[in-house]
Symmetry: C2
Subunit: 347 residues, 2 copies
């Protein structure tokens, strides 16, 4: 198998991984413990794709469990000895490998401060898992590709289920998750034919803006990262409002914009941004259930998720497949980026 084949195979494994997470009783059990004593604050720590999943966690805990979640500073406890964690808080560390040293150190510091510590990882025997008071295994199987795909969506599903079950909405979310997984399988089958011509048309791109609002901002960050990693371009993630606030000035016909458009309360704000972006001449790719209505040059329509908070499980799929296709259009091997070891021991 070439690297690109491994990447595409792992993208295709996502529905199976999500189905396993949907049936994982230990997540509901852990959530029940959280519901019994709701955390005063939810701290999330991670790097890379897992940090993008943490962005999603802010919306999942806010909307499904009514809890404030934040992406915590890792450097303050690790490098500066600042101790901000406290009893009553929930500290969640996310890492595919469970080996990134500063995330392990962060979780230990949170445990010492009295917080409930949870590791979400693909390697249940890893140092991160050993540092946690509770472990949720992603069970995604070995991720051989250096670009994370199945572990990213697995982390989203774990966070959504944890938050929903903690907030007393577990059964409804699990039903919606089941239907979403079916839609994901259909999308993975049908999307390659849709994204490939877009990738061919944009093979020259050296920079690309990815924009969205609300929970889809996690998607924007993850797609920008996939494009940067796999296609050697400057992928910049920005909310639609931040884009309109300044960087819209930078757009021109050589600076494409990918818009992740959910059909939610933010669609009108996204529509206004699209109108201003279009005036710059930038090629626009709109992907999502709101895509066809936006008048973008390239529209990648997706079915709406049964629960809007599960939409990021679908909206990242065209981005993953587009990044793979764009790497191929650029004659790069998407599965084997240079300079990269799979497990990062960098501090």
């Amino acid at each position: 198998m070439t690297g690109a084949e491994v990447l595409l195979a792992e993208i295709g494994e996502q529905p199976g991984v999500l189905e396993r997470i949907r049936g994982d009783g230990s997540i509901a059990e852990l959530a029940a413990r959280l519901a019994a004593e709701p955390p005063t604050l939810v701290r999330l720590a991670a790097h890379g794709s897992s940090d993008n999943a943490a962005t999603y966690g802010i919306y999942a805990f806010g909307r499904l469990a009514g809890r404030t979640a934040l992406r915590d500073s890792i450097s303050m406890p690790v490098y500066d000895g600042v101790r901000l964690g406290a009893r009553g808080e929930l500290a969640i560390a996310l890492s595919q490998s469970g080996e990134t040293p500063d995330v392990v150190t962060w979780l230990r510091a949170m445990g010492e401060a009295g917080a409930t510590t949870v590791a979400i990882t693909n390697v249940p025997g890893s140092p991160l898992a050993r540092a946690a008071s509770a472990v949720v295994s992603l069970g995604a199987g070995e991720e051989r590709s250096v670009a994370a795909t199945k572990t990213y969506t697995a982390e989203l599903a774990v966070l959504a289920r944890l938050a929903a079950h903690a907030g007393g909405r577990g059964a409804a979310l699990d039903d919606a998750l089941g239907a979403t997984i079916e839609l994901a399988g259909e999308a993975i089958a049908s999307l390659p034919a849709v994204v490939e011509p877009v990738a061919e048309a944009l093979a020259w791109a050296e920079r690309l803006m990815v924009t969205a609002r609300g929970p889809e901002f996690a998607t924007a960050r993850e797609i920008a990262l996939k494009l940067t990693e796999l296609c050697r371009l400057g992928g910049v993630a920005m909310t639609a409002t931040d884009l309109a606030h300044g960087p819209i000035a930078a757009l021109d016909e050589r600076f494409p914009v990918w818009i992740s458009a959910a059909r939610d309360g933010s669609l009108e704000a996204v529509r206004e941004a699209v109108e201003r972006i279009a005036a710059s001449g930038a090629p626009i790719v709109a992907a999502g259930p709101g895509a066809a209505t936006l008048g973008a040059r390239h529209a990648i329509e997706l079915p709406p998720a049964p629960d809007p908070l599960l939409s990021p499980l679908l909206s990242v799929l065209p981005g993953q497949l587009f990044a793979a296709a764009l790497a191929r259009a650029k004659r790069l091997d998407a599965g084997a980026p240079r300079n990269l070891r799979k497990v990062t021991l960098a501090r």
Copy 2:
């Protein structure tokens, strides 16, 4: 005056603006009220450069006042009706113009939830100021350039003073701030001659990675934004660890990396990242008090700030001047980006 001349003039006004903030007694008074009843949580909300200042606020409140601060979701209260604010919390909104509607709506929602609300703005009579229970005026004078410079560093200084005075370290910080302002004046005078040859050497860049760790991550975000806005390139900000985690794979001789290197606990981690980046062939610009020791192709040495937490007031200066010089090298008018109104009314 051309747009570029306006931009450079505003960069030059920064020491004067910072000196005024250093002497603003109302900041210490507001901080004294916070010290009397320390907030359980500090929420920050902003867009664009002000959001990068909010990143700095996380470190300022964490390290100087021992308080957890977070960049709050604006979309949850504004678009989804999610109410997470609470009595006992401090909500700080940052906006140059004080007119961005969703930030105003966010601050109102926080006030309704019982939080203490503070507006940090350059326009004391703005809607944001009217929505707040306390206002800190940046007093930076009209910012005519579309790219924020003097209001960004003004926001950093306000956040540092608020946090330090709330944490009982106000006098020491104000002393250090005075010395830092002197260093800033010297840097603004001497840096143009240093950054211009670097800009000439990198005039071809279409993408650029900006990396740092700790409080300097605010600097990395702000420099990436300035480069994206002014030079029409894909400027990607990433912590040194996130870079090593994956996107280092994307680097090559056409993907320069700007490193903001403080002389603090993270310097060794930055040094490890630099070694791996250098192996990719990417041109490296290192700026800061640690720069000369890193073996980068381009080193922009800065004096260390008397307090490491004030280092971002200095380290952003070469980035601002480099962005202006790179725009000139690219034959763009740095002061007049297309498509951009100064005041963003986008939602």
